[in-house]
Each structure stands twice: as structure tokens, then as C-alpha cells.
Subunit: 382 residues, 4 copies
């Protein structure tokens, strides 16, 4: 017997589409007792939200998120709004007993996040934050290798997330699709948008980060704001890099920017252990680079594992060996893990929840403080 | 206003899944007046076909394909059965006035294909053969570059499709999923299964092939047959390679095998023109390798275009720059082209129809004859 | 104690330079009792040959190769002249009791080669043909892996040598540096110049080739001849591709051209065995691609071995791990093998001699005949 | 007419060999009026230094560097000793009027370096520091592109130098070949040994570094010392990473370690400008990665320039397009630049001299201070 999980989606932008796709696709490829139903979608522009509901097969729509959150025919709310509204909406969801699937980052800052974690844990509601990249087969394979202790002592971690889409000084800030360039809505620039992904994966693979030194820069100081039509100071960080020390004694460097010409969405990480090293990049997301020092000396090399075989994580649910998956599959897999966890709440959770995301938020906060103060900053632990 | 296109799917194996996914996904990402409805699916095992219908949202199911073909509430039949039944089913579809979307290869041989082409063209029914790889963004970009004449005179074409999944002598032949190893069901081995893809793309990019010299080999001579339980002679070609000359004067080599250790589904092609060269491979399917001799001497190099930007074919309908698409997107795109063509029958068709697939069949026939006779063979033109 | 090996070099073009470099460098990096001395160099243009002798430290020079061959103070002759003179010079060397180091290909054809082999073997003189690529660390590593039987049964071999330097119709033929475009001097085009390298390595790695089907093409039919100033028919093959069967039952495709836009000197090979596969290319010559099916399923991938460690062939004689060698090192290594063999004549020879090069010549001859007759041709065995 | 440049080499270890190779090779491939003569080599172990002199063709040898420095038949001294002796030897050379070619880093610290720079500039003696990597064709091509202003405003620079050869706790420190693990002899660990290379190239390509934040780590705290036989504290940095700001406003991250499993000598850099980006790595040293935003949108990609054509820096002096150079060629090219500058002292110097190397030393000093103090440190400018 199947148990419906009636979803209410708030926000129908880029992330609204990726999540809707996950709700549409998950049952075609993964088995679970809980089956998501696209019950309602919510947005402020009625015409647009109606069209979205029709295109994606939502049974209904709302234009006021508070009404959606109060509906009795909704089991879980998916929050896809700009970052500045996550906390308020999440707290309302919790008050109404809804499970929450919240787009990352969790909140504008650690203080908001603490309130959210306290409330959701007190209410005992299942909760997920959409740090999707860990659910790609190659990244989950990396996790499995690390978790099995195969790396031995870890010495180094490095990650970056490089883009180039904001180099033009003519690009405005604010408004639909561009709220990511406005610190009031986004909280920060690349730190919360991009580095948060790097930090989530890093903490999943390599444990807690304990201290950081950072620098940030805003290369284009003023841009026209879409909501005011005026040239205004750019309030976000265009680029951020930081040094870090992990609790396990390893050293790390992290970097993110939207000014790295030639990189569209180059999210990469590498981890170097005593016995093995692993590396990955989002542009070639089906591959994991793998170095095993146990191989005899003259045969050692980095191997490129095309993670599309039946024995690779998630891959066996899709096609046949050698055939690529895409970006959106990460959300389908994350959702499948959430549903599996609803089926069997006692099993180990393999998705990031609010508490884990709070830890990531604390690192972001420390990074921004370190950049501001030009000091090494200790990271608060979630 | 939307016009429903009621689909009846015959066969629910690997290809049944990829096509069902296309019917499910296309309207989420592409606009067209014609919208596919998953009306019915047909398979001989009632329990399994019912489960498939439920999972993929088909409104009904049948266990006899003849009944499906005769139903009045079906506009188009999608044929996903083994190759030996394509001709019979297609002719029945035509007799019943159904459009046809037929899995490749078109038929067991050119003679069957000729009958199918004659019938479908006489009936004036829209018809497609699912040579899906051309619809990947990188491959369509290659086509656009070639079609614009940017390569100048073409000198060389090379393609291969390398797999390694049949190396074990313990693998049986015949039966579900393994009919591809039985020439009675498949017509041939790698020639019809894999080289047909290479040939379809080659003819699309570089025009007609006029003559071939070939060799084939069956490395494992006997395998247990799943339907009989007996060890029987293997009747297919495990590997096939051929030399070819195109009508435009260029030379080509083609190779396919299921015995290339280390390659899961390495479909690659390369075309060398006077001014530019292009290369692609399925394992890294989002990238097109591009060489432009017009670049100044010391700056010339092969560039790797990550075909995930808004101005790349199909990519703008999905996510944002840098994010990968996967294998199954090719079917969505092919279906989108078919629907667009139904909306505007006068526009240029950008999908392979029966006649184009017959041309590919003729090349396969010539290749097998050349291998058998150890002679160069002229290729019949469709 | 060191034994001098007094070298007389005939020809001081591109190959004269690579060989001279080997004579200059070998003792800096390899130990042997026999030590080459640059005794004399020979060329027809006195001014140029004198300058070459000075630059490269040759103790003397000659302008008539017959005089050089007769000199008593010469132990070994290195033949770097165009292909049409190899046989005549070699036979004169043998008559004068000189060892021979002959640039590849051995001769214009098998008939010449047979005469040379018979003479040199009867005289018992050490002899080498400069098929240099096998001496690159990655290629020798491939040989070692194959020789240890690690591949198991071999199914496939493929190789190509792609260049693009003759695409311009304005390039003349004949004369200094361009004799490679004149069949009278070169014997053939890409077949003897480039495919001969591919065939040498293939036979070294995978044994004898027994039959071939081929095609050749001359894309630019006429070019100005540098020696006559007239536009003359181009007599060489601009491109050649062939199918082959090896004695061990494996299938192969070979291709070479000077019309593959974007490839400067892309010599690649790949060999697929039951258990392992290997691939290599000259543009990234320090790396060997290595696939080991024995690795557990989810960890399998092609690994890229940077063959620059102390336990890689030849690499330990140079620098430290990770540092690249270059093209010319192949000649140094080949010379080192020749010297080692002089030191210990009983040890296994690891360089190609006249007889091995004759086998390669027979394949070239069969390929050209197959292209001419459009028939499969059996290959004569050396 | 040729002018001999009589070289006296002090030290015959790894660097003694690379420099000797350059003296042996340069005149075979580059023209200059000044021609190096291998006049004398100096080392403390007479037997070994005599053998080295014989192998590399030095006309004489010394066992006391002070005697060498005072010889009248020496024009230039090449210092290849451990870092702690550079200053003393260099000052003695200057006192004796010798030109100096000094192995990097210049000195143990900025204070030593300042004294060396003051003395050599006062004496007006030609001086070079062997930061060799800039002389690789791909790196020099990068410089040429940057120098032509093609990148526009620069936003980011990143570089690392990753090795893995000291991971084993059994590796001793000190003594022949292992003095790099002893801070008394080396000054620092990876900072002076590896990061110094990264910094030299970075400053050449992107100008002055003005401030840094850094961290260092010594992963293995004690190792047996080869000179004492005792287990002693390891005094060097095993790993170092730093954030930096350049005078041109760009941000940078640098990292070096000998604990990055799988990397032998992975020196990489990348520079991102408004219009173009460049990247390079030492393991594939013949290639430059090049991104040109001026290419039309759907054709943009990183291209891999194989810097082996006649119009690439230095490459035309060697072989033909497509053929690789190796590591040691960098020293030959650097020497060729030094000789060219002796021929024409008025021309722009394209090699790093003492003053440039002092600037690099200042960055190293600042990095080590920043790591020690956990503060951002301003860099002194040379």
C-alpha cells in the first residue's frame, strides 16, 4: 500500500522547477511506500502560478503562502523562496505541523537557523534542506569510500565553486532571478549561494570545520537595482576564499566567485588521504577521480570512474552502464532518500536536515566574520 | 489550445522506459500544441504490463498488440519490441491509420524497410525512428556547425561504439533483455544495435555512404540460450569494423564491439574538415570538442564546449549554464521535434523518419554483405 | 673500461638532428661500456654539413657517403637519408663491415628489405631501425604489461597517426624537407611515413598481422614540385586506412592521414584484452591509459599513469617523479638499448632490427596492394 | 665570432644535473654569441665530483668552492648548493667579479637576499636565479598573452604545487637529497621549495602581491635525521596555503604540500581575466588551457593549446609540431635567455634576476610570518 505525501510548494522559480521535477519523477525510478502528490503550488502572481500548476500537474494553487501552510490537505511544505523568507515560513509550517523540505541555505544566518532547528526538533517533524549535490552518484560514491575509512588519515581538502555570469557591469541586481545579487534577500553573495554547497559536502565527507581565515571582494561596486531602477551599492560578496582547519587535523582551502571567466558552474572538490585521494567536478558530474596508492607503483594513476554502472549509487535505478545522468537527478535522489526515511524512520538518514544545515550556516557566518575582521575565527558547532 | 496525442506503447523494456519518460517529461520543458497522453501500454505479461502502466501513468493496458493497434482512442503507436517484429507491427499500424514512433533499427533488413517506407509514405502518416543520439545538445550543435558549411571540404569521418558487457563466456543469449544476442530476434549483433547509431549520425552530419569494406567476428562461438536452456551457436556479430567512402569524397572508418574492455557505451564520432574539426563522445555527452583553424596559430587548440548554455540546442529549456543533461533527455528532445512537426507540418523535419532509417539499414546490409563476401560493396541509396 | 663506438652519420635533416642528440645525450643518462663518438657526418652541401658538424660536435665531415662508408675510423653508420637510398647505402655499409642504425622505414618495399636483411644477417653485423616510439616510457610500460600476459585474450587493436600539415593546396612537393610528398623518394605517403610507426608498435605489442583490407586517397591531386618548379601529379597517398586481422585472432583498424584538421602528430594506439586495456597518445606521451577489470566494479575506471616515476621504464635515469620527458628521449633510449646489446650480445634485444622492420614493410606493402586491388590481401611474414 | 662563457658549477646533485644538461644542450638548439663552456665543477667528495666532471664533460673539478670562485679562468658561477649557502657563495662570487646563476630560492630569507641584491647590483654583474618553469613554452605563451593585455581586468589567480613523496613516516630528514626536509639547510619546507616557484610565476604574470594570510602544518612531527641518526623534531612546513591580494586588485589562493596523495609534481596555475582565462599544469606541461570570451557564445570553451608549433615560444628551435618537450628544456631556455642578454645587454631581460627573486623571497617571508602570527601580513616590495 502506498501512502500519499501531499506536497505544497512555495515559489516556482528555478528551484521550484527542480523540485517539481523530482516530485514528478521519483516514483518512476524509485520505490517507496510514501509517494509524493503535487497537491498545491503557491506564488504571488496568480496568472503565473496557475500556469505553473498546470504545466507541472499541481492539483491546486495559492497566492498567499500563509493560506497554503494552513491547509489541512498538505503534509509537507517545500520552501523555494528567497533566503530572507525561509525562517518565517518554516516557523509557520512547524506551527501547523507540516514536514518541511527547505531550499538551501537554511537561513540568513546562524541565529535564524538556531530558532528553526529548535522549533522543528521540538515538533519532531521530518525536515530536509536541499543540498542536492551530495546525491549525485559520484559524490555519494566518494562518501561511501570515505565512510569505509579507505582514505586513512586525511591531510587535505579543497573545493571551489566558480562561475562567470556576473562579470558584466551592465547586469542589474534585485528582482526576479536576480535577488541573489541583493544581500537583503540573499543574506550574502557567493558565500551563501555557492560556498554553502561546498561546505555542506565538505562537512559530510570530512567532518567539522573548526577555524577559518577569509577574504571577500565586491568587484563591481554599483549596479542598477531592478526593483528601484536606481544605481545602488552592491551589498553582496562577488568572491570569497578561505583557509580552514578541520577537526580531524586536515587543512583546506575554499574559493568561490562569479568572476572566473570560462567557468559556468565549476563546483569541484578534492580530498587527499594517506592511502587514497578523490576528486570530482560538477561539469563532468558522472565521473569520480580516484587514486589508490595501494596499486603497484608503476601502475598507479588517477582513474576516472564513470559512475553509471548498476553498482554505483542510484545509477542502477535509471538506465544502463555508460549512460549519463544529469543535474536534476540529484534532487530526485535526495527526495528518494527523504521518502525512504519516512518509510523507515529508524534507518540512518542520508539527507541533510536542518541541524546539519545549521552547521553549514555557522561556517558561512564565520567566513564572513573572518573576512570582515581580517582575523582567524573559530566556528560554532551545531 | 492543446491537441492531445494519444500514445499506445508496445513493449515496456529498456526502451519502453526511455520513451515513457519522454512522454512524461516533454511538456514540462517544451511547448507545443500537440501534447502526448499516455493512453495505453501493451505487453504479453498482464501483471507486469499493469504494473508498468501504473508506474508510468498509462490510462490503460493491453496484452495483444493487434488490439491496441485497432483501438480508436489511439493516435500514435510507439514500437519498442525486438527488431524482428517492427515490420509486422508497423504495417498493421499503417493499415489502421496510426502515426508511428518506431524504435531503431527500422527493420531486420532493407527489404522489410522498403515495404514499411512505401506503406507509411503512401498513407501519409507521420513517422519517426528513435535514433535518439542526434538530439543531444552537443550532437545537434555539431549538426548546426556542419550545416552552416563551416567545415569546408570534409576529408575524414570516424566513429565507433565500444562496449564490454558480453566478454564473459557465461552470459547467455536470447530471452528478456538478451534478445540482442540472438540474430533471429535482432537481425544482427553490434551492426544493427550499435553501428546503426553511428551510421545514422554520420549520414545526418556527412551525407550518404557509397561503398564499404568490412569485417565481423563472433569471439564466443557458443552460449547457452535462455529460451531453450541449450548451448547454441551464437549467430550475431560480436564486433564489426568497416571502411567507407562518402558521396562527398571523404573517407571513414567505423568500429563497434561488445569486447572492448573498459568501455561501457563509448559512442564517439569525429569529423575533419578543411577549416574545422568536431569530435564527441557519449561518456562525456554534454561536451563537444571543437577545433577552428581560423584561430591564430599560437592560440589554436581543441576546445571543449560544455553545451549547457542557453544558446546551445535544447539546453535553454532545462536549467542554467554548466549543469549537465543526461541520456534520457535525448528522447525528450526527439519527441519535442516530432510534436513541433505535427504543429507545423510544413517546417523542416529535424528527426529521422522511416526513409532516413532505411538509408541507414542499407548501409548495415552492405556492411554485413561486405564482411561475408570479403569484397567492397556499393551501398543502395534510400 | 669504455669502448668507443665511432659513428658516421649520413644526412643531417630532422632525423640527423634527433640522432645526433641521442649520441650527445646518452652517456649523460645511461651507463654502457660502449660509448658513441660523433666521428663524422656526411652531406652533399659542404658548407651546411660543416656547420652541422661544428654545432653537434662531429670530429669530421664528408660530402660523399661512399667515402664515409669506407673510412676505417668508423664503426657504425647511421642512415638518415630519404627512403629511396636506404638499401643502396646499407648494402655498401655491410660490404664494409659497418654496423648500421637506419632511419625507418627500412626500404622502399619488401624486395629491397629482403636483400638488406639477408646481407646484414649473413655478415653478422648489429643493426637497428629507428622506430623510436616504442622507447617512450609509456609505450615500453605497455609492452611490459602485454608481455606479462596481463591482458588475457586480446580482442581489439586500433591505432592512428593523424596530422594536418599538408591540407593547404599551396604546399609544394619534393626537395629538402618535402621529399616525403614525393613517392619516388619516399616510396609511399602516410603509409610508409606514419602507419609504419603504428604497425611497428602494433606488431611489437600484439604480434603478426595476417591480412588487411585498405583504402587510400590523394586529396590534392597536383602540387608544384620543388625540384622542377612544375605542377605535377601527387604520387603519394595523403591518407590510408585499413582493417586487419592479427595472428592471435584480434581485429584491428588503422588510419593515417595528413588531412585531419587539428591534429599535429596524434599517434594513438589502444589494445583491448579480456582482463585489461591500454591506450596511449603521442600528444600526451608521458601518460599511459590503463584499465584493469580486476578492480572491484564500482571502482573501475581508466587510470592515467604519468610514467615519470623511478620504476617506470627509462624514467629513473632522468629526473624525479612527475617531471615530463620529451620526444627526443625516445631516440636516446633506443640508442641505450643498442649499446646495452653491444655490451651483452647474448641478452634479449629490445630494439627493432632489420628483420623486424622487414615484417613492418611487408604489412605496408600488403596495405598498398589491398588499396590498389580493393581486395583483402594476406601479409607475407618476415 | 663566438665568445666563450666559462662556467664553474658548485654542487652536482639534481640541480647540478639539470644545469649541466642546459650547458651541454643550449648550443645545439639556440644561437648566441656567448657559448657556455663547462670549465669546472666543484663538490666536496673528490671521487664523486671527478666522476661527474667526466660524465658531463667538465674540463676540471674542485673540492673547495672558494678556490673555484677565485679561479681566473671562470666567468660565471652556477650555485647549486643547499639554500643556506647561497648568500655566502654569491657574495664571494661578487667579490671575485663573477657573474652568477643561482639556484632558487635566492636565500634563506629577505635579509640575506637584500645583501645579495645590493652587492650584485653595485658590482654590475649579470645575475640569474633559476626559476625555470617560466621558460616552458606554455608558460611563456601565457606571459605573452597577459603582457599583451588580452585578459582585461584580472579578478583571480590560483596556484598550487602538490606532491606526495613525504607521506611515509619512515622517510628520514637531512643529508644528501633530504636536506629539503631540514629547515636549517632549506630555510623552510614547501614554502621555499615549491611555493616559491608558484610565487615567481604569479608575480611574473600578475604583478606584485601586497598582503597575505596563511597557514602551515607539519604533519609528521619527528623523523630520523640522516646526519645524526637520531629522531628529531621536523622543523619544516609540510604544507602551506595562503590567501593573497595582488596590487592589481585581484584575489588569489596558493597551496603547496608534500602530502597530496596521487600528485607527483602537480604545479598548476590559473588566471581569470575579464576577457580571457588561462590555466596550466606541470604534469601536462606542453599544453596551455585557454578560454577566450570573445568567441561566440555557443562556441566558447576551454581550448587546450599543444604548445609545440613553430610559432610557440622556444618550440620552433626543437622538433616539429605535435612533439613534446620535457622538463629539462626549461633550463635550456632560461640559459638561452641569459646568453641572449649577454649578447645584447640593452634588450629586455626575460629571466628572473636577484632583484625579482628577492621580491619572491619577501612573499615567502610574509607567508611564514602570517602563518606564525595568524594575522594578515603586508608584503615588503623588492
Amino acid at each position: 500500500m502506498k501512502t500519499p505525501l501531499r506536497i505544497g510548494l512555495i515559489g516556482y522559480g528555478f528551484m521550484g522547477r527542480t523540485h517539481s521535477n523530482a516530485y514528478s519523477q521519483v516514483s518512476h525510478f524509485f520505490d517507496s511506500s510514501h509517494v509524493p502528490l503535487r497537491q498545491a503550488v503557491c506564488g504571488r502572481d496568480e496568472e503565473k502560478v496557475r500556469a505553473f500548476a498546470k504545466k507541472w500537474g499541481y492539483a491546486s494553487y495559492e497566492t498567499d503562502w500563509r493560506k497554503l501552510v494552513e491547509r489541512n490537505d498538505i503534509d509537507a511544505i517545500d520552501i523555494c523562496t528567497p533566503n530572507d523568507s525561509h525562517a518565517e515560513i518554516a516557523l509557520a509550517c512547524i506551527a501547523n505541523g507540516k514536514m518541511i523540505l527547505c531550499e538551501k541555505p537554511l537561513a540568513l544566518n546562524g541565529a535564524q537557523g538556531e530558532e528553526m532547528v529548535a522549533a522543528v526538533e521540538k515538533a519532531g517533524l521530518p525536515n530536509l534542506v536541499w543540498y542536492n549535490y551530495r546525491f549525485l552518484p559520484a559524490v555519494t560514491l566518494a562518501k561511501n569510500i570515505v565512510a569505509a575509512g579507505e582514505l586513512g588519515r586525511v591531510f587535505h581538502y579543497r573545493a571551489n565553486f566558480l562561475q562567470d555570469w556576473t562579470i558584466s557591469a551592465d547586469l542589474p541586481q534585485g528582482g526576479a532571478g536576480l535577488w541573489r545579487l541583493d544581500a537583503a534577500a540573499a543574506g550574502s553573495g557567493v558565500t551563501g549561494d555557492l560556498l554553502a554547497h561546498c561546505i555542506d559536502t565538505a562537512r559530510w565527507l570530512n567532518g567539522d570545520i573548526v577555524s577559518v581565515s577569509a577574504m571577500t571582494e565586491t568587484f563591481i561596486k554599483e549596479r542598477v537595482h531592478n526593483l528601484t531602477g536606481q544605481k545602488q551599492a552592491v551589498t553582496i560578496d562577488d568572491a570569497c576564499a578561505f583557509l580552514a582547519r578541520f577537526a580531524n587535523g586536515s587543512l583546506a582551502i575554499f574559493e568561490s566567485t562569479r568572476y572566473a571567466r570560462g567557468h559556468k558552474a565549476l563546483y569541484t572538490f578534492e580530498i587527499n588521504g594517506e592511502k587514497k585521494s578523490l576528486a570530482w567536478d560538477l561539469h563532468d558530474m558522472n565521473r569520480l577521480s580516484y587514486f589508490d596508492h595501494g596499486v603497484p607503483g608503476d601502475r598507479r594513476g588517477w582513474s576516472s570512474i564513470h559512475c553509471s554502472d548498476g553498482d554505483h549509487p542510484y545509477a542502477g535505478n535509471w538506465w544502463v552502464p555508460g549512460l549519463c545522468l544529469g543535474y536534476e537527478h540529484s534532487f530526485v535522489h535526495g527526495l528518494a532518500e527523504f521518502l525512504k526515511s519516512l518509510d523507515d524512520p529508524a534507518a540512518e538518514k542520508r539527507y541533510p536536515d536542518f541541524r546539519h544545515a545549521l552547521g553549514t550556516q555557522y561556517v558561512c557566518d564565520a567566513v564572513l566574520e573572518a573576512a570582515r575582521t581580517k582575523q582567524w575565527v573559530d566556528v560554532k558547532q551545531a
